[in-house]
Subunit: 354 residues, 2 copies
């Protein structure tokens, strides 16, 4: 690996000049520039990113914290993040917290500000204090899928109106004529999916439909979790005509449960989820769901992070003091609204049809 000064020597200039032509800084004579470019080509020179990071006081990488890249939603999101980052000249370090706040903290402590210039947080179950602390230390943090646009957290975030998503799901079921409805909601402890559930319940209530306690199950965000919950629910309430799941994976699990219970979907039972992961399209029957703007949110998150990284340093101080400096980017960005995607897993309940 050749270095700047080797290139400089070959071109008969100093490294400062080489640096200037490579970054289009300063004025460099055409003839000199050409000599430098030739030397760069001849030596196959490539800038040493770690060295540059040190000199600039800014690394070209961002950290993406996820709880487990194996959940099929995260790769889709990560893909979008990677694209957007790449376009802005940055690399993505993938940090699996594995739902463990301690693992998350370890990651933050090690790389925030030293190896990566910013961190994106995607449902990684991190300690908010840790996050605030890394922000206070000068490394921007962006939450990627905040579920309540109207109730922003104390950190910059991209918000998606998941309440609305729950509402849309409810309306769809109601319009089809369902009244015997049960719900499977993401793990209670994390309080995750609360907004989705609220939206769902409120829309039902507005239509005069009640959702008794016994019609609701909390389940892990997996196919198996949804499967188990759906079985319980269906056995407890055989008259059920529709299942709402606050996420696609449990919705898919519900379809499997119906299959095992010899209930035809959608003829005997409608199932609806939220998110629209790729699998939703590929299940049998394909899943009706409420699509969430994943790619858009990823792009917004990267661009917000970018702005936070690139803003002049004094504004950091202001942010830390609570106020917002003159040109500081707004700390909450709202992605477009979720939209209903009707596929094959929902239809009118039997007794109402034909």
């Amino acid at each position: 690996m050749s270095t700047l000064s080797e290139v400089a020597a070959r071109a008969g200039v100093t490294s400062a000049t080489v640096s200037n032509v490579l970054r289009n800084r300063g004025r460099v004579g055409d003839e000199t520039r050409q000599r430098v470019l030739d030397a760069v080509a001849a030596l196959g020179y490539r800038p040493h990113l770690a060295a540059r990071a040190l000199a600039e006081g800014r690394a070209p990488t961002i950290a993406l914290m996820v709880s487990s890249i194996a959940n099929p939603f995260y790769p889709e999101f990560a893909l979008a993040v990677e694209r957007a980052a790449r376009i802005s000249g940055r690399f993505v370090i993938i940090c699996n917290t594995n739902q463990d706040p301690l693992a998350g903290r370890a990651y933050l402590e090690q790389i925030a500000g030293t190896l990566s210039e910013g961190v994106l947080v995607m449902n990684a179950n991190l300690d908010f204090d840790d996050l605030h602390q890394t922000e206070a230390r000068g490394t921007p943090v962006v939450l990627c899928m905040w579920e309540r646009p109207l109730d922003p957290p104390g950190l910059p975030c991209v918000a998606v109106d998941f309440r609305r998503a729950g509402e849309l799901a409810a309306r769809h079921l109601l319009e089809l004529g369902h009244r015997q409805i049960v719900a499977i909601v993401g793990s209670k402890r994390a309080g995750i999916h609360a907004a989705r559930y609220e939206g769902f319940v409120d829309a039902l209530r507005a239509a005069g439909v009640k959702l008794p306690r016994t019609c609701v199950r909390h389940a892990p965000d997996t196919i198996e979790g949804g499967y188990a919950a759906a079985r319980e629910l269906l056995e407890l309430h055989p008259a059920t005509t529709a299942i709402f799941a606050s996420n696609d994976l449990p919705a898919l699990g519900s379809i499997h449960a119906a299959f095992d219970l010899r209930r035809d979907v959608p003829a005997d039972l409608s199932v609806i989820g939220i998110t629209d992961i790729q699998l939703a399209r590929q299940s049998r029957p394909p899943l009706t769901t409420v699509q969430v703007p994943t790619v858009e949110a990823a792009e917004m998150a990267v661009s917000l992070l970018r702005e936070l990284i690139e803003r002049p340093p004094h504004t950091h101080q202001a942010a830390r003091r609570g106020g917002r400096a003159a040109h500081e980017p707004p700390r909450v960005r709202v992605a477009s609204e979720p939209t209903l995607i009707v596929r094959g897993s929902t239809s009118a309940p039997r007794r109402v049809r034909g």
Copy 2:
């Protein structure tokens, strides 16, 4: 962010001493060590990884090149890589080549040797010349899932006997009594899955079962690809009793095709895949498949890469000249054999049963 010398100043020593206590190098007096540790704690000091990388001439990150993190196999693999890397103190930069060799090259040129100390290649459709070049430049490269243990490439790799996987799949179908078999094989152009197919065909042939050209389709490694191929095949050969797919995703697609064609799986049609991705367990019916040691391969790949990174520099030269230096790690590692996992998508064909 405080620096080493700030810590040093506070502890009344020089930065060299602080460095020594932090890395357990050199002998440091107990009393001094304690003072340093106190100062570190008081200042909340954390080492600057980019600076360290520069000084050591070695970055703590490795690059993971994948064609698209969205294919459900890759996240599972990436997860295992990340774990293994984390344990050896390294971070993973995720590089999506999106099947584009140019994108791959761009990644390699930018980060190999400057931001990451090694690269792991997972079916990223990279140009072999590019890979050899980055190796020649001194950055170790490891291929993660080489399909032919007996026919190693010119690069270090972890090999999995996919020929054997194909063979196991064939034997399973044969033992069940299937003779009307069709095959769906990964995209021809990339020559990928060739070993699996060979193993499959050879095992059939050894049993006196032929696989005519018209019984084989090449398809992209997706559910949709498998779906389309299976439909064609089943329409062309209605007497088919079993489908072999060289990967799980197309196998899942085949199950969907059977569903749409009103063919019961496994009663009317058996389906078998290769890999055993998580989804295989979660489909209806659950997919019979040949499990490939993903996690083991990931761990082997990371540890091979690690050894390559840590070997003394002179051996690089030797490797480049074709020979192998005295203590250079073997460049091919073979993971354990694939194993058949029988689930619900295969059974004896109708006419043979009972």
